[in-house]
């Protein structure tokens, strides 16, 4: 079982994700913003980060970029329901292009999230793949 960081400004979505992950045996820490997530990762790096995209202050994409700069071997799952003119699909594709291991659109099926988490934990990071390609 893994140590997982959940970053979402919505406490209810955090509770949902954390509850699902804890139920299958993972250890979960939470942050309500990207800056807090970075501090958590610096203090105690998680094996997987699940982050919302649209958050006030530091949004998920900025968090993802900064996180992968400082912790290039991080595995990240980005979640979004879309906001403003940016729909969920586009924002999640951006996250994928920026190095997210996987993406999840809201609303999500809990069983599917658990499967994606298991798959992400077993997958190689984008940094690993880039090193292997050289």
């Amino acid at each position: 079982m893994a140590h997982i960081l959940v970053v979402d400004d919505d406490e209810i979505m955090r509770a949902l994700l954390s509850g699902m992950l804890r139920h299958v045996g993972h250890t979960v820490v939470e942050s309500d913003n990207g800056q807090g997530g970075l501090e958590q990762m610096n203090a105690y790096p998680a094996e997987l980060v699940i982050t919302d995209i649209f958050m006030p202050e530091m949004d998920g994409l900025e968090f993802l970029i900064t996180l992968l700069e400082k912790h290039p071997d991080s595995k990240v799952i980005a979640i979004s329901g879309g906001y403003k003119a940016v729909n969920a699909c586009l924002s999640l594709q951006m996250a994928k292009a920026l190095g997210a291991t996987d993406i999840i659109a809201k609303p999500f099926h809990t069983a599917a999230v658990i499967r994606q988490v298991a798959y992400a934990l077993q997958s190689k990071t984008i940094a690993y793949r880039r090193r292997a390609e050289r």
């Binding site: 400004d9 209810i12 509770a15 954390s18 329901g81 999500f108």
Partner: protein, 133 residues
């Protein structure tokens, strides 16, 4: 709000959660289900209040943010009527045009109360009392 959005809201029934989604969540969350449901139940009351507060403060940006946030919760529970209202309010907040928002917000408050009650009934039927009043 355009005519299509208005018609869509008028012609749909009051929102009830998708009980199939709740059952799936109960199976996937196990002992954590009731705790998570407490968050959802309280959100059904508190979030529409935040939307109303943003409207009363004449703060379209905050209204858009609150609408966006509540939209996701409604989607997750299959509350399609409430999701439609939230999307409309988010859009109105984003455009800065809040004319006509008041009755939608009042409807969202009423449906939120109903959703809260439905979630509470579902949790009670799960065999354990819900602590959220």
């Amino acid at each position: 709000m355009n005519a299509s959005q208005s018609e869509q809201i008028q012609n749909t029934e009051e929102g009830y959660p998708d009980f199939a989604k709740l059952t799936e969540m109960r199976e996937e969350l196990g002992d954590h289900f009731l705790l998570v449901m407490q968050h959802f139940q309280s959100g059904m009351l508190a979030r529409p209040q935040k939307i109303r507060q943003a409207f009363q403060n004449n703060n379209p940006e905050q209204l858009a943010l609150e609408g966006h946030s509540f939209k996701s919760l409604c989607r997750q529970l299959g509350l399609s009527q409430m999701e439609t209202l939230s999307v409309t309010l988010e859009s109105m907040g984003r455009s800065g045009q809040l004319d006509g928002a008041a009755p939608l917000i009042e409807r969202l408050l009423a449906y939120g109360l109903q959703a809260h009650c439905e979630l509470q009934k579902y949790c009670l039927a799960c065999g354990k009392p819900s602590s959220v009043q």
